[in-house]
Symmetry: C2
Subunit: 333 residues, 2 copies
Amino acid sequence: MEPNCPTSSNDYAADISSIRQAQVRIEPFAHRTPVLTSETLDSIAGRKLYFKCECFQKGGAFKFRGACNAIYSLDDDHAAKRVVTHSSGNHAAALALAAKLRGIPAYIVIPKNAPKCKVENVKRYGGQVIWSEPSMQSREDTANKVLQDTGAVLIHPYNDGRIISGQGTISLELLEQASKIDTLIVPISGGGLISGVALAAKAINPAIRIFAAEPMGADDAFQSKINGRITKLSEVNTIADGLRAFLGDLTWPIVRDLVDDVIVVDDEEIIQAMRLCYEILKIAVEPSGAIGLAAVLSNSFKTNPAYRECNNIGIVISGGNVDLGVLWNSVNK
Amino acid sequence: MEPNCPTSSNDYAADISSIRQAQVRIEPFAHRTPVLTSETLDSIAGRKLYFKCECFQKGGAFKFRGACNAIYSLDDDHAAKRVVTHSSGNHAAALALAAKLRGIPAYIVIPKNAPKCKVENVKRYGGQVIWSEPSMQSREDTANKVLQDTGAVLIHPYNDGRIISGQGTISLELLEQASKIDTLIVPISGGGLISGVALAAKAINPAIRIFAAEPMGADDAFQSKINGRITKLSEVNTIADGLRAFLGDLTWPIVRDLVDDVIVVDDEEIIQAMRLCYEILKIAVEPSGAIGLAAVLSNSFKTNPAYRECNNIGIVISGGNVDLGVLWNSVNK
């Protein structure tokens, strides 16, 4: 069976079974991240909020879950071929770290505009950095060239069942840590995170609501849901450097079917949420990681038809890799 | 029995029994804070480190534990008289919050040089702010005047058995969360935190080592240990705004007897530790809160005779109330 082929009865690339297997596979390596709560933020939101803090995951982002699951899913023959990926930063560092743990060299294609701290993470974990231009086309072309030159195995940052399954382990933990949750708000970019989270959460509690949080300047998931098909944008423009990718053919069907709605917020709302994360939650959160809080505080959410039924909201804080100077300059624009 | 009188067989102001009672008393109100670990910091320190994150405590610092225990220890007659304290910030906010929870008005004397975010916390929790000059003398004089004018009950920030007992609940949690700990490193100022932590930890495991971490510009505990008596300084000068107080007559005997050694670090080491907390642990930590990490990375610690026996080190991250601009400016001096 090819790793990426659909495995569930719904023909999705992952299911609760593959997610539970991922949990067992990554358990020796990944952190069980804490859930923080704040009465101050609850009172601002008018809802009980549960923050699943993946900023405390290894590498500073949820990405280690999927990368670790993918690396440890490889049989020895594939592992011997080495691995390659392209990523704006967090998947890059996560794959480098997971590969290092298994003793596999990793080639990491990184766009030149990736945040400094994310590039440093890749280097810290021993990944071999190969630069590309910022565009997704350049990232993919550069990665393909490495594939051809080296024969390494591609671990795509999101359009991969092993990655989706790894990210889904977040729901297994979170719904155990905060069993009252009736709603999840999850950042969306390529869709790997929200696909895994939605598959696991709906398997555990089919009534749970799943909202995607997406930046206005990269709202391809919002457009795709309206159009009923994958809709790519000609350009993206958002401070959320981790949310600039587009849905893939494996994540789109899950997002189409299991994500109840997409909440779109602007960069100003994201920056304000980063500030609240720092000042109230006392955590370093990157723009992409703060978007769930931005969404729950947004007018878009408060005017959503389901708003009144969302009382206990789990928010995935996806990562904390933000240069201190960038954070300071953002909140002081 | 007066609240502050010695209660243990050693004539200390608190003991494991009063600390366990405090745990039951504050449990409905206080957070059980998470313990974070980082392989990156472990490899820098050459030791396994466990960070008890009191930056996530209510009010952003451990102070809520003691304040909550003190407020809920008051009988109704005393509670009706209202409460007063003086504090550079964190105890102030904690007492305001605990008093608010019990529905008691709180008068809070704050020195004019207290950090903005700490003053905002006091106001957020409904405390009535009364300004004093920065000196401890002015703080105490102003608080005494409020006492005389209002008849309110003084809740001292550290020289109080109820406060010491509340802070000691940290050890009960931490040694359950990370049972391998053989050493604790705890910030020291007036000594309320380390007294409670040491009393509880040594009661649970008499072999555990307790180190105080103290800033060079306010090293009264270091001097006191050398001199064998409480030694006050004529002036203090440190970035660690929460560590400028001196030991009291109730905390000194505990520090004298139960604290194995005092590790003194300079402001530069504290700032470097704040940066590591932000960049690696992804948490907002105030200077006073980062001093434990500064101590574990210091030459003073590495040359300590007990260093080789300290392998699993619990570090109390005491608080996270640091203005973002102050953090940014500190690490960019």
